[in-house]
């Protein structure tokens, strides 16, 4: 049992470290999780003396991949979390729950349409929606800060549907 934990732990660490290259997660995320028993326990759940099944390893790979996704997108003038982002937020929420010293900043953004200050409100509402989901997954409020930039810091500068879609977002920024 103990050894299987360690094998899995190494695998997870390697995955995280590999993915970290060219990504925005802090470089120490992988090292942080390897020193934290919480992450490995979760991954090896239901082992019962048997070595880790490929299914669990696959699940871990998916989870590690989700951890690399740091942007949640929204519909126009909406702050509702779309179903396709549930898994992403679950992964981050559980990670935060297992790493209580980790702090994350939720930056809310909107597309350029409409008035600027209303958009600051909308960006904050989106950041708060993400915050609530993360807390439902066990993250503590003290780990999460929000800021809304409204339409002031677009990811794309165009005035077209695709730019607007990519600008309606909350960015998860690990610190």
């Amino acid at each position: 049992m103990r050894s299987s934990f360690l094998i899995l732990l190494t695998a997870v660490t390697l995955t995280l470290t590999a993915c970290n290259r060219g990504n925005t997660l802090p470089e120490d995320t992988g090292a942080g999780s390897s020193s934290d028993a919480g992450l490995s326990t979760d991954g090896a759940g239901g082992g019962g003396g048997v070595s880790v099944s490929p299914l669990d390893a696959e699940r871990e790979r998916q989870r590690a991949a989700l951890m690399q996704q740091l942007v949640v997108y929204f519909d126009y003038d909406q702050a509702e979390i779309l179903p396709e982002f549930n898994a992403l937020l679950q992964a981050h929420g559980q990670y935060l729950a297992q790493n209580p010293s980790t702090q994350i900043r939720l930056e809310g953004h909107t597309d350029e349409r409409g008035s600027r200050e209303y958009n600051i409100g909308l960006g904050e509402r989106r950041a708060q929606a993400v915050r609530r989901v993360l807390m439902l997954q066990g993250a503590a409020g003290t780990q999460l800060t929000t800021v809304s930039y409204g339409e002031e810091r677009p990811a794309q500068t165009g005035s077209d549907e695709e730019s607007w879609r990519l600008n309606r977002r909350v960015e998860l920024v690990y610190r």
Binding site: R113, G114, R116, E117, I120, E124, V147
Partner: protein, 445 residues
Amino acid sequence: MVRVVGTNARTGWLAFAATLFAFATAVAEAQFNVVIRQGSEAAVPIAVVPFGWQGGGAPALDFAGVIGADLGSSGRFAPIASRDMVSRPTQASQINYQDWRLLDASYLVLGTLAPDSAPDTFTATFELFNVARGERMTGFRLQAGRADLRKAAHRISDMIFEELTGIPGVFSTQIAYISKERRTDGTTQYRLIVSDADGENAQRVAESTQPLVSPSWSPDARRLAYVSFEGGVSGVYIQTLRTGTRERVSQRAGVNSSPSFSPDGRSLALVLSRDTGNLDIHTLDLSTQVLRQLTTDAAIDTEPTWAADGRSIYFTSDRGGGPQIFRVGTEAGQRATRITFDGVYNARPRMSPDGKYLALVNGENNRYRIAVWNVDAQRLELLTPEGRLDESPSFAPNGAQIIYATRENGRGILASVSTDGRFKTQIASVAGDVQEPVWGPFPRP
């Protein structure tokens, strides 16, 4: 200082003086130029003849050029190009009215500029004539130092505008706006700029690599409130323009947004989310620092603008679904009432100086346009039906013109429209994006 002396025989001699506004730390900035690209058919042709220069060398200032540009920027007048003028009189006795009738000029302005005996001071005179009637309408003499010659020219524009329209001119006022420049290293430089109403004399008030938003004038034109995201958090600041002294009035948890000075200048309306994450309208007494929460709804309540009497505040709320305009009294415990019902998106209200209109952004079918809400008639009138991404309307202090931001060819530019929707101008900037124009109050003597 500019000294204005009337030479109108009917009104007799009238003299007044005004202290003019100056920055302690003047930094020249990229300017915008007023360019009339949509000539209004209703614009009245006016000929401003190059002023007679009675000194040596080149004239100290092209007065006629400044005055013509001012009058044109209102959209109400179409200045006649000097190259089209067949004669260039500088005094009444030299006018051949037939020259100007052939050019279809309705009005004619002539003047002179001469150095005074005192060094670096000048005297300008101007006279305004009705071409059809062949009559002199008014005339004044002004004295100004070299540094204030543009201000003297703007003062002349104000007097001509008021004589011809009955509405005080706004050419001696200032405009604050945000300029945004993307740099090659990927960062964006945000600047809060104050310039003369014609875009000249632009001065940098604040600069940051983080967003600067929501500039708001104090009623005495001496201070600007604005939001800065420096340090990655939003904060509301008040800066005194003359000295550059800056005070942070709110950097509470969550959103700090949308500052707006009360008409008496003593309070600031602002929008805070505090710990709840829910945006509500608050007022802050600037001397006692007492904070009062005016709305508690779970909706986004933002973009406050004071009623002219200071006793209520109009704001945007999406409590009914989409954003609409509401009003709430500034005394504690008052209930907000909904004002606009037309359309699905009405936001960012700004009160006219006389309290009769709200300028706002009306959204429909993916288009955002400037509209005015007539408070008494309870009627919404679209001012920029051709607009697509119009935003941030702001009334000129005479209430007759609204400046706003829009986009053209991917750039943020400024434009203006008269409150009745008849006269429109577009304003070109030299570089980068310009947004959130806020028209300053009349300068106080």
